[in-house]
Symmetry: D2
Subunit: 429 residues, 4 copies
């Protein structure tokens, strides 16, 4: 459990990924960005942009860098979560990198689910084109009308009528559903309200062009629509899909969520840490290149201490994420979920703080278009809600700790002895 | 100094302001917003919008609610800063309120400066139309290339040639310069690099349509351009204005800055506190109207404590701002500047925290277009840079405290006695 | 409510108090401390110490400085809580000052209660000698076996038998009960377990030498016994007092607690703020008189910012305490109790932080006997539990805020409009 | 560098250590404590106490558990720092454990220094009895009159006269010098004020009974003297030791400090983490066994979140300490010193927070003699000064990070590109 080193076997892959990013993705992204001004519609790509992405995909496939996200899987490289974490850190450095190697969210989670619990028919129809990078996908979980971090609250209903699921409800913040290439959604629905709490939900495959699916518009994040990817508000009105569109069977919606844990959160957290590293570098650079009151800004006030504290927290976060990845490898996704909650509750909050400190060192430039910091901040701030707000994860962690304590006679006895010794157990500092 | 109550005399004015806002500004703003979609250019008003503003202005003038921002002045109502603070809190509740009564920044500061140090010619030309609400104005201080919180760094140069000031340099984050009605700027320049440090700068009136003034484009704030008001990047290339355009004389740029302190910061801080109050209400409302895990969200985890802490900090901030206003009334702007630094360093940071906590209670909706919270957050975050970053104000406060300590024989002697008593001065808790 | 200035009438009293402290208490305390080494028993005074205290009392009485703590009372000066707050700040500067003028806790609260709800017999027997400064007293509320911040938990029982209350139970942290001059306790007991929740408790006068009262020993605070004052653990075994020893009648224990609010908390908070002021001065002094790495310590790292933040928080706390005192004057103790909770939850926590920062600036000396800081820290840390932990006060504040929100149609409607406007209410920063 | 697992080879040692502690140290400590009341003098052991310690030592030697602290050394077990870290965590669980196996500070650091840089004569005279556990020792570094975290400030002078070093100066907080068994001190002195900054200091062996060595008395920590170990104030007046008493040669005082890094800090940090773990358990136990307001305290307010945050921080700290130990193994003490600074700056501060939170959950009992928490708090708070205050370590870390950044063309170029791209590099969240 404590060996957090990358395996020797995975190193060559890491090297090839780095090479692919610096040699191909970095120049491609500059070209991609230059085309941005030619966009005529928010939720379309500019002419030429998709060609750039497809070109990168071809290069990645050629180099054998494709679908390696899937941990311990037959498909792909069969990387451990720990090895993937090291690679994910690199993927975060270029916005096109992950997609170019077919390792981009939310497709990764969807492919993982399909591979593990999909029927052959489901795999043929959706997993195949996803693995080929021909289409994209979305995962529709969060709802505007309820606190959907409490899964019992899921309000979107699916009712079986004449061999079809009829779906009604509303979802929002469906990331990726704005992409014109997005063809399929996995939708969390309530199928069995009368079943026990964690057997009431199911996940269903819904093609995005099914009649009754209405993309109301983009939800914004601090006023931004993140087009063309988008975080969409989607209304389902009498949407009908065949009975066979259900994943793994009725009432297994929760179980599937636990399968889904896999690479996604590790990936996200490693990218967050990458953002924090970049913020730290920007903070130092700014501090070294500006002067005020006769000194470099880095030498003013608490700035050096802020740098140190950022360095320490980044190092600690990285070790925690590697440890969580290792836990997934060793204990399996289910047992490791406390570790995943730990990094989910720890990393985005601390990264927000580091980026915010970096903004402060920059003065007004830090929140302007001349710096990526405010963009990075908004992204990290958003992650404190995605997949459940921090508070839900803290609750999961505390509940597990409490249960572990209660189940440990040794811990209970020791604590009892310390506080009920009767005598004076204070022994000075 | 400790009587922070509003004067009896100012109460009727406050009541009339509240009436004006609720009866006229509130419905007008709804109509104004509805026109937003008809805009054809970012930095223009939509057809009909200016008419709404002008209609409100007429109503305000009619009601005698005009230019009352100027503290202790012959113009306007002659309100004390303390009385104005109470009114400013109300002005913050509607985005059109301040302008409708000609009490909007940055015009307020510019008018105050012109009234106090302007020549008759300058007053006739610029103060008159500003007081009449016919034009708007900007204040050009911050520069992109230097840490301009250290005034010595000001890089924009003005050189006297043939009876004209020739200005070269670059400014950014010039708020309000995007408004098509903005006609005049007060520009901070370096005129006398060889003079002693705080006599090198001057402030000069520059009409925005002077040849050589180039509005490069808007600076953004978390990606937003705040059009049509805007925070503009402006380049000055051989911009020529007559020698008489200088304010108060060469080398008095700093002195003027201290005049300018007046209503602006009090106003800003009171609006910030208003935002925090609103955030608190939104937090409570959300907490009461959502449920998760079988409870109202307000009853989950630390939410009640967060509400209490927000309440306490808001109350403390309000008292501090009233105290600072009172200090300005009693001690004058110069002596009260430490108090102004105190609220400038205290208020936006704490308001950011309160708004951020409110966002967290909302889940993803808190950062979406369905809530004003993310917009409020960005505004408050920006204020931590405006008029000098927090750190500069903390330094001003600490330097004053240190000097006061050093000058107090009594404080020094007491501290010396406590730490150099020689014997054992520890006496247990 | 916002006039926080001291009344003109109270100023002369303040001046005389200051004179008494500097002329008499300060030299007396040095002499008192010098006798400390002659103590033979922890919970006795050293020979000569009580004579010093009595001498000060005589001087105070002579100067008419006696019992002025009682707000708006016939006894004493009839000071407002606000005026008393200004004086309490001075009382905190010398450990003998409060007692020398008969304004020391917990006697102050006990005298206030006796004056307001005591029978003539109770007043004659206990209030008279207390007002004369002839005896001292204690208030026995907290219990070791239950979370006594929840008053329902009170476990000490008093049962009426043959015209006597028979008391059984255990209390701890009974401050002042170690003083050999302490003769009387007011004890919170449960008399009517079958009554409604807040009518089950009563307060009873119990002479400390009543058979069955066993002072088990001192509770310590960070290992210190605070002798001879002490925070005692007391066991009550079949303690019998006459029926007439009950205060205000059976079941009114809670009501009395609200009377008791009076000067005590204001006094405590003002003393805490005095401690924070002293910590700030010590921090500055140390920073100015030490050097490291070629600079004065005050100029290293974040120290100047720490000084500024301390200054701001101290100013804000003082205004809040004055405001709470004013609220008690204007609204009465019951209505003002939210304000009292605000300062109780705010002040000790922030003072702990300021003192802790001052310790850090001192290096190891800061926690040694050469500095009062660690002693001050322990005292403040203890106050975060006294009269209910911070958390209980935060809950009281939040509950009141929530109720006020729910009862305000205006606030609810505004919050509802902001979050359910339906349209896009985000309008950029 | 990322394999943080304990080596297979060291596991049996760990098991034997645990066995020794639970079977022998735990019952012995109870007996030891029971004798405490028989002490007649603060800085002596009670009759029978030393016999208990010696008995444990005999048992440990017998079991081959002796002197294993020395990393990679010929003496002892030759444990890696990483393996020792795991064992150190266990040593922290019983106050007698470390000494019983001759692994107690400050002897450990002194033995390490002597082994590495001592002459044969020095080893024979002092290392031998130390390794045998026959005497104890102290390290005299900190001075009361200067900020001794800046080594240049060292004021204690040693001058060579007639083949003897003559030492004059004052030290304080010399831990362990109060123990009657302490026979030898390593003293940091200034020998060569004219040399370059880091060659001015030397370390000299001074027997504690040398004429001119005056133990003025104990320094206290929050009012406690920590007898008989003690943190002594020591005055050196014309103390004469032979020229051969110098360690490693004149001017090498700093170099030796870097040798000294070895097990000490890892050990301290692992003990701190052990304390935090204990605090967490006490917090949970208290939360589960008390009720207020109709709920278990653990279920009130933010308590569950506090537990989660404590859990996360403890896990992160442990990984960081293991990583630092590994860095020492892989990079050597000198290169790894940034890692040591990281854990020194991180661990005690976070542990203070966790223990403080645990106290708050306990109410008044948390600061009383009925709980070890206040004692634990004081110990951890003290560690924020020991071996340099947090601020010095943060400075070391930031300076290293800054230098590394400046030396990395890649990092500088990337940061420059991000902030000086010229164009609009903001790309939305």
């Amino acid at each position: 459990m404590h060996n957090l080193a990358m395996s020797e076997g995975a190193r060559p892959l890491l090297d090839r990924v780095v090479k692919h990013i610096t040699e191909h993705c970095d120049p491609a992204y500059a070209a991609y960005e230059a085309l941005e001004a030619k966009k005529t519609s928010r939720f379309e790509y500019a002419p030429g942009q998709l060609e750039i992405i497809d070109g990168l995909k071809a290069k990645a496939k050629e180099a054998g860098l494709w679908n390696f996200f899937l941990p311990n899987a037959e498909t792909g490289e069969g990387l451990s979560n720990l090895d993937y974490a090291y690679i994910a850190f690199e993927l975060g450095k270029n916005p096109l990198a992950a997609e170019s190697m077919n390792c981009a969210a939310p497709d990764t989670g969807n492919m993982e689910v399909l591979e593990r619990v999909g029927t052959q028919e489901q795999k043929d129809k959706w997993l195949k084109p996803l693995l080929a990078g021909e289409i994209r996908s979305a995962f529709a979980m969060t709802e505007p009308d309820v606190a959907s971090s409490d899964a019992k609250n899921i309000g979107t209903r699916a009712v079986l009528e004449n061999g079809e699921w009829v779906i009604n409800g509303e979802k929002y913040y469906i990331s990726g559903a704005g992409d014109p290439r997005c063809k399929i959604m996995i939708v969390m629905v309530k199928t069995s309200p009368e079943a026990e709490t964690f057997r009431q939900q199911s996940q269903i495959l819904v093609p995005i062009d099914t009649p009754g699916v209405e993309i109301v518009g983009p939800m914004t994040v601090f006023g931004h629509d993140d087009a063309p990817h988008g975080h969409m508000q989607i209304r389902f009105t009498d949407v009908r899909v065949p009975e066979s569109a259900i994943l793994w069977g009725e009432g297994r919606g929760f179980e599937i969520s636990q399968v889904r844990l896999g690479p996604g959160r590790i990936h996200h957290c490693m990218r967050s840490i990458g953002a924090a590293e970049k913020a730290l570098d920007l903070m130092i650079y700014r501090g070294l290149t500006r002067e005020a009151f006769g000194k470099k800004i880095i030498d003013l006030g608490k700035n050096m201490e802020t740098i140190s504290r950022s360095r320490i927290e980044i190092d600690a976060m990285r070790l925690m994420v590697l440890k969580a990845a290792k836990a997934m490898d060793v204990l399996g996704n289910k047992e490791a979920r406390i570790w995943v909650s730990k990094i989910k509750a720890m990393v985005p909050e601390k990264c927000c703080k580091i980026i915010d400190d970096a903004m402060q060192v920059h003065g007004a430039t830090g929140i302007s278009q001349w710096s990526p910091l405010s963009s990075m901040y908004m992204k990290q701030r958003t992650l404190r809600f995605a997949d459940g707000p921090d508070e839900v994860h803290h609750h999961v962690i505390a509940r597990a700790e409490r249960k572990e304590f209660e189940n440990s006679n040794e811990r209970v006895a020791a604590a009892k002895a310390e506080t009920e010794g009767g005598g004076n157990i204070f022994d000075g500092p």
